[in-house]
Amino acid sequence: MSFPWANEYTPKAPLMKWIDDRLPLPRLVYNAVGSGYPVPRNLNYFWNFGVLSGLALMIQIVTGIIMAMHYGANELVAFSSVEHVMRDVNAGWLMRYAHANGASFFFIVVYLHIFRGLYYGSYKAPREMVWLLGLVIFLLMMATAFMGYVLPWGQMSYWGAKVITGLFGAIPVVGEPIQTWLLGGFAPNNATLNRFFSLHYLLPFAIAGVIILHIWALHIPGSSNPTGVDVKGPQDTVPFHPYYTAKDGFGAGIFFIIFAVMVYFAPNFLGHPDNYIEANPLSTPAHIVPEWYFWPFYAILRAFTVDFWFVPAKLLGVLAMFASILLLFVLPWLDTSPVRSGSYRPMFRKFFWILVIDVVILGYCGGSPAEEPFVMISQIASAYYFAHFLIILPLIAAFEKPLPLPGSITEAVLAKHGEATGDAATVAAE
């Protein structure tokens, strides 16, 4: 994971030198998260969420592996084995509540990480590959979370699995065979539960692998920063350790406090009560909803109510839902503005906040029953979502007049502290 501008590692202790000559692992750590990695000095707290995402993955892996020791992936015992974890396994309730809420917190920090990237233009050259790999992680996360939610074999597990695999059934001709193949039957069954468990155990390690690539790709150009201005020299950076390890330590503390409040005092707040009812193929829940982190996409799926010529509305909804995520893969080539940071893009910034509100509205509609007025609201909100990325962003890039950028990161920092010198005074605009 070495990269061009890392500081050279010179081992001091003879043992480290001995190891480094044979396996450059100390060098790797030094370059990746040690003093070897120079990072812009002006990162704000929004830059904490990458490390917090990694932390959330570790929580999921540790609690998940422990629960897998007590869980039975069989439709006859899955539900009661989860209750066995809750009642009879030492600290089993803690493992399960931490795992269930951990999934939500993983998505919270990843969504903040993604919106950080959207606001500060972290997807732009030369960091496109970081962005693309991040989206791969996001897709893997969604698949993992969905399959994990099926494992307790409650009512929402079962019917969620049925609805989501049913999306593939909307594809013409091959759709139904694909759905049957995915489920291993015509409806969710023991084969489904088994394969979902197998994949739910596998995919987090695939995520860990892509995270390594994500960080590797990041370390080639180095971290972006709130001004979006490139690093000009050593005065613009501080070594990752101890500066950002200390800041991330504080961030992790805040994360753990909020996480603990949920796990210990409101562990079922983010869950759905129906999942405490054992799966019953003969009884459909009144409202089938996925977990909250899928609500915006669920709203887009359900927003299509009218067939387009020979394309059924359901298929349009499925296409739109996938498109809503896949369009992010071309984002670096849609937003052609050379200015990265939203802080220097007055027009972009307004639309960015509209997008944030729009996604929150979509989320609210996705969690509500599919009835008016939620359908009409989600139609308008979905329309804006697509228009924002596919139409508005390229137009803004063409017409917007960005504010003047600071000459360097150091200049921006000094200006903020009222020590502006020379041309740095012009920087203070933002």
């Binding site: 309730w93 753990f256 009560p273 299509f304 009835e371 308008i380 697509f386 596919l390 139409i391 390229p394």
Partner: protein, 281 residues
Amino acid sequence: MVRIGAFLVGLFFAGWLFVSFLLGAVAYVGEPPQPTVEKVFHLTPKEAEFSFQGPFGHYDKQQLQRGFQVFKEVCSACHSLKFVAFRDLEALGYNEAEVKAIAKNWAIKTPDVDPKTGEASTRAPVPADHFPKPFANNVAAAAANNNAIPPDLSLMTKARHEGTAYVYSLLTGFGEQPAELLKRFPEAKTPEGLYYNPYFANLNLAMAPPLTSDGQVTYAEGQPKPTVDQMAKDVAAFLTWTAEPKLENRKSAGLAVMFFLIIATGLAYMSYRNIWAETKH
């Protein structure tokens, strides 16, 4: 190329969504959706105070014992409690001998096989057994209950929104259908064999009111008067314990964890400030 393609895709999705919206809006204005009887008459659970609420909450063992008594004398005739074992009752303050006696004298026997012949038989439960089910299977349960299967109660208070208050409200919420309901929705008259209860999702419940009169269960000396309200509250508390038996461990561990985390985070903040003290950022 990318931008032209994106523009067309965006125009299609946004445009078609807008068309769908207009069609939906026209339909909505032309024919506003009528409220359903459930929308108008379904009630959210009543407010009720319990000792286990809040971060410092604890179960009131006396109340759990009373609730267990109500379950034993009323609910257990039809409802199972399959995730709870007799041994768990020690958490209610019973000692080992008492738990043994409760299991041994339980009205429903545990299915087993005759150790000599291997034929199916039953025996008195022991503390290691879970509560035996009142019906051999769902068919038997439905046959005995006017075609409705009494649900297992182990997780009931977690399987409904505001579960504890829901159980309490449901048990005290039976009554006549309001005249206004019958006037506005004459077709929603409670069918024969069902019972009107505004706290139940579809308003009509197959379960007959189980708690009908004060003093239906005789509480031990020194306990509150067994009014219907009191019994409903006690059994709701008991079912909260069956659904979340580790609630007290969770909350007390949570307080210790918060104490630790706040100090650790304070230290982390100070070391962060210390390291960055000389660096403007």
